[in-house]
């Protein structure tokens, strides 16, 4: 067999392998989708069977589930909290990162190391005390939760922005200042545009984390304002019984926004992952 033929067969084998693996990867999602259209009595007993005339229930599970956990309200809360937390993190940490990099003082050094340290600390260390403080300061509402997310996102955000800013020559900023620009003007008009790729990375990493976060919203605002993950886990109500039909439907609804978002922003997400890894 010539080299070219060998390459072609190998390529074909690889294609087949990839195709099979992709199918395997997407199977769980498809299985959940399939089950969301079956009556709840037939989901646990025969999860891999396709719906037939007896087990098919159309939109019933979706309607029931969305009503039970108020899905659309949960979606609203998730959207609000994620969007504004991400914006807040990007702006506040870029500003902080710039300041910490450009100003050399004991204060900035200590602050920087504290922020980096915070990236390693697991949430369990602060969850109890933080939820009590949040309650004391009346931060236990969707608006207050943004403050909490900025606090937790500060570590990674500042770290990455600082890392990137270090590579930007001072000359541009010094020139702007000499020309009479104030520091805020310098930052917003000169520096921030250059930070766009890093900002996108931070935005995406934080969006993924915050949208899917369970513990923080559960502990601080969980009784009154349920985000999507909290609402899903709450389906496990009534003395532990789970309405599997409603659960399947809600799982599908929970995945839809992310998948849609992913399809449109795929390129940025993947770039962001790589950039995040390289900086780390």
């Amino acid at each position: 067999m010539s080299n070219l033929q060998r390459k072609n067969t190998r390529d074909r084998l690889i294609s087949i392998a990839l195709a099979l693996l992709s199918l395997l990867f997407i199977a769980p999602i498809l299985i959940v989708l399939m089950n969301s259209f079956k009556s709840k009595l037939f989901i646990s007993s025969e999860p891999f069977r396709f719906p037939n005339t007896e087990t098919f229930t159309g939109r019933a599970n979706y309607i029931e589930g969305a009503k039970k956990i108020n899905f659309f309200k949960a979606f609203g809360y998730s959207l609000f909290i994620t969007t504004f937390s991400v914006l807040a993190v990007v702006f506040t940490t870029s500003m902080l990162g710039w300041y910490l990099t450009r100003v050399k003082s004991r204060f900035t050094q200590i602050t920087y190391y504290l922020l980096v340290f915070s990236m390693i600390v697991p949430f369990q260390m602060v969850m109890f005390t933080m939820s009590k403080i949040a309650n004391m300061l009346h931060l236990d509402n969707p608006l207050g939760v943004i403050v909490l997310y900025v606090g937790f996102g500060a570590g990674l955000g500042t770290f990455m922005f600082s890392g990137f800013i270090k590579t930007i020559p001072l000359s541009l900023e010094e020139a702007a200042l000499i020309d009479g620009a104030s520091p805020p003007q310098t930052f917003f008009l000169v520096v921030l545009p250059m930070l766009k790729p890093t900002a996108i990375t931070i935005a995406i990493l934080n969006a993924m984390w915050i949208w899917n976060d369970y513990l923080l919203p559960y502990l601080t605002i969980g009784t009154e304002y349920k985000t999507i993950p909290v609402a899903i886990q709450y389906l496990r109500g009534g003395y532990g019984a789970v309405d599997m039909g409603a659960m399947m439907a809600m799982l599908v609804l929970a995945m839809v926004p992310i998948i849609v978002f992913y399809i449109f922003t795929q390129r940025y997400i993947i770039e962001g992952v790589v950039a995040g890894a390289v900086k780390g």
């Binding site: 690889i14 100003v103 504290l114 993950p229 899903i232």
Partner: protein, 280 residues
């Protein structure tokens, strides 16, 4: 520039810093201090010295959870990285449709931990049905169920990083090696692996820390059942705080130990792999 910036310090520093202090720094210090107290709200503590820490070793559930963490992390770090790397090799072959495969493999990473747990609960219980068992019949099922879930969730993410690493490999070097007669295995060992050492560092770091801190998926898939035998550290700490009465101090002490463990592991792993990077 330093001086001009300093006057604007409040604007740039305060927003992120205040949130950081409220949401992280103060809770963290409070949590550490309270680990030496018996308390139920943050203001009614009674000093008890080391007794909370001693309790951890009397009850042993923390140690058992630690063992579960160790087994889980070792298995997943190895599996995920090998599989992700293998997948990255396949996907960088330039076969048609690579982008679609990359999209599919990465997708599970976007889905939140709670949703993932429920998806895999359905699948694993379905697989075990013919054996007349469920995921909580035997802790083995819960363990491997979690491993499968972690793999599904993270392989795509690590694969993307490995792909980026592979794409930085000097093509000339590879061709030279091929011409020299080196077979695929030697090419892998001597050219590819050393070049992607940074990717290996980062992926090991990410899989190690995320595996060790696992919570949402643990809660949704098994909630630690049966009899706490699939309870990992984060869940154990959460249960100590919120499902046992009067054990908040012990919970905080466990959290302190947990933080030390995670920090130790993360730092030593970084040191080890950075060393390897430099050697290359």
């Amino acid at each position: 520039m330093d001086k001009t910036l300093r006057r604007w310090a409040p604007l740039f520093v305060l927003p992120a810093l205040i949130c950081f202090v409220i949401a992280f720094l103060v809770p963290m210090i409070m949590g550490f201090v309270l680990s030496f107290f018996k308390f139920s709200t943050v203001t009614d503590g009674v000093f008890v010295g080391w007794s909370n820490y001693k309790r951890i070793f009397i009850d042993m559930d923390f140690i058992k959870a630690l063992w579960m963490n160790v087994r889980f992390t070792v298995v997943t770090v190895i599996m995920i990285n090998i599989l992700a790397f293998f997948l990255a090799l396949l996907v960088t072959r330039g076969v048609k449709g690579t982008n679609i495969y990359r999209t599919i493999f990465f997708m599970p990473n976007l889905i939140g931990g709670i949703v993932l747990g429920w998806i895999w609960l359905l699948i694993i219980n379905g697989i075990l049905l013919p054996k007349n068992a469920t995921i909580i019949t035997d802790p083995k099922y819960g363990f491997w169920g979690l491993v499968a879930l972690a793999n599904w969730q993270n392989i795509g993410y690590m694969m993307v990083i490995y792909i980026a690493g592979i794409q930085t490999i000097n093509k000339d070097l590879l061709e030279a090696a091929e011409i020299d007669g080196a077979n695929s295995w030697i090419r892998l060992k001597s050219v590819i692996l050393p070049s992607i050492m940074p990717a290996i560092t980062i992926c090991s770091f990410l899989t190690l820390t995320s595996g060790f801190k696992l919570f949402d998926q643990n809660l949704a898939l098994t909630a630690g059942n049966p009899a706490r035998q699939t309870e990992m550290l984060a869940l154990n700490i959460y249960n100590t705080f919120y499902t046992r009465s009067n054990f908040e101090g012990v919970g905080q002490a466990k959290a302190v130990l947990f933080t030390i463990l995670v920090a130790a592991i993360a730092l030593s792993q970084l040191a080890l792999t950075r060393q390897k990077e430099v050697e290359v």
